[in-house]
């Protein structure tokens, strides 16, 4: 099967792992992110040589539109780009809220809207949003990050109904703690090492633990799955 998949946030972490695994399936990948060097690094780790890099800051309307204009017809999209935030609710100011919501919620929603408006998605395309168990599992200092991911899950569920007539599918993957740069925002590594022992499977996830679920949701094997949110947690019920 010849698939072309857009992966946002492909320069590191879960996005990079997904891009690498998709390439192993023989799919063509369009990698986007802000950092060209890191995108190049991701591409160097991928099988195949037809993968396209289109750098863009997705919170920038002009860059986002330019990305959409250059986009080939897609069989799948994985929205991975995101930022973390650790700040007490009482400390939040306008900029703190806007920054997180802009990257984690507004940008993927508007990118997805533009891709649909410009008819860049093939019939039966699959769209995957990387959300987080933070959407439903509270933790101190995580209010805006949690809210941004909860918003994404709610949005994706509505979109799945709108796109179902074209057999286009929309799903979310919600990982618990995964060892990425994002997990380290405002955190102490030693504390995280201790905390991961509280997970029933005795470890936080790795990006490679998440990528197979994305590949599955992108594949025809998941053709009956839409509007779902898959929690990948290492067994934990709390963050």
């Amino acid at each position: 099967m010849e698939n072309t998949i857009l992966v946002t946030g492909a320069s590191s972490g879960i996005g990079r792992a997904i891009a690498i695994l998709c390439a192993q399936k023989g799919w063509h990948i369009v990698l986007t992110g802000r950092n060209v060097l890191r995108l190049e690094e991701t591409r160097s780790l991928m099988e195949g040589d037809e993968h396209l890099i289109i750098p863009a800051d997705l919170t920038d309307k002009v860059q986002q539109q330019a990305l959409v204009n250059e986009m080939p017809i897609l069989n799948g999209v994985v929205h991975c780009a995101g930022v973390g935030s650790r700040m007490l609710g009482r400390m939040l100011e306008d900029d703190d809220v806007r920054k997180v919501m802009s990257v984690n919620f507004v940008a993927p929603v508007l990118l997805q809207a533009a891709l649909l408006r410009e008819k860049k998605l093939a019939r039966e395309a699959s769209i995957v949003f990387i959300a987080s168990t933070a959407a439903t599992m509270p933790s101190v200092g995580n209010s805006i990050y949690s809210a941004s991911k909860a918003a994404l899950v709610a949005y994706a569920k509505c979109l799945s109904i709108e796109l179902a007539p074209r057999r286009q599918r929309v799903n979310c993957i919600s990982p618990a703690m995964v060892w990425t740069d994002l997990a380290l925002v405002g955190a102490d590594v030693e504390q995280l090492r201790e905390a991961e022992q509280a997970y029933p499977l005795k470890r936080y996830g790795q990006p490679q633990d998440i990528a197979p679920m994305a590949v599955y949701l992108l594949s025809d094997d998941a053709s009956w799955i839409t509007g779902s949110n898959f929690e990948l947690t290492g067994g934990t019920q709390t963050l």
Binding site: R117, K119, R123, E162, P165, R166
Partner: protein
């Protein structure tokens, strides 16, 4: 009217463009659905700043009917 028909047609995915003429009875097209109806209502707000109500839209049979309702409210 030409611009309106172009925007009207853009809300459809699979229907051939040449079907979209003023006399087109769009609800009879195979691709028609209430989702496309909503997309057309949204399009009129976005492109022309006109809010046509679902009740008004329901009375429209042809594309020209929709255009006439919209222009009467501008």
């Amino acid at each position: 009217m030409e611009d309106f028909i172009k925007n009207f047609a853009a809300q459809w995915e699979d229907t051939e463009m040449d079907v979209f003429v003023p006399t087109c009875t769009f609800r009879e097209l195979e691709e028609w659905s209430s989702l496309i109806g909503l997309a057309i209502l949204n399009m009129m707000v976005k492109k022309y700043g006109v809010k046509v109500s679902p009740a008004e839209f329901k009375l429209c049979v042809t594309i020209k009917d929709v255009y006439d309702v919209m222009t009467s409210k501008r």
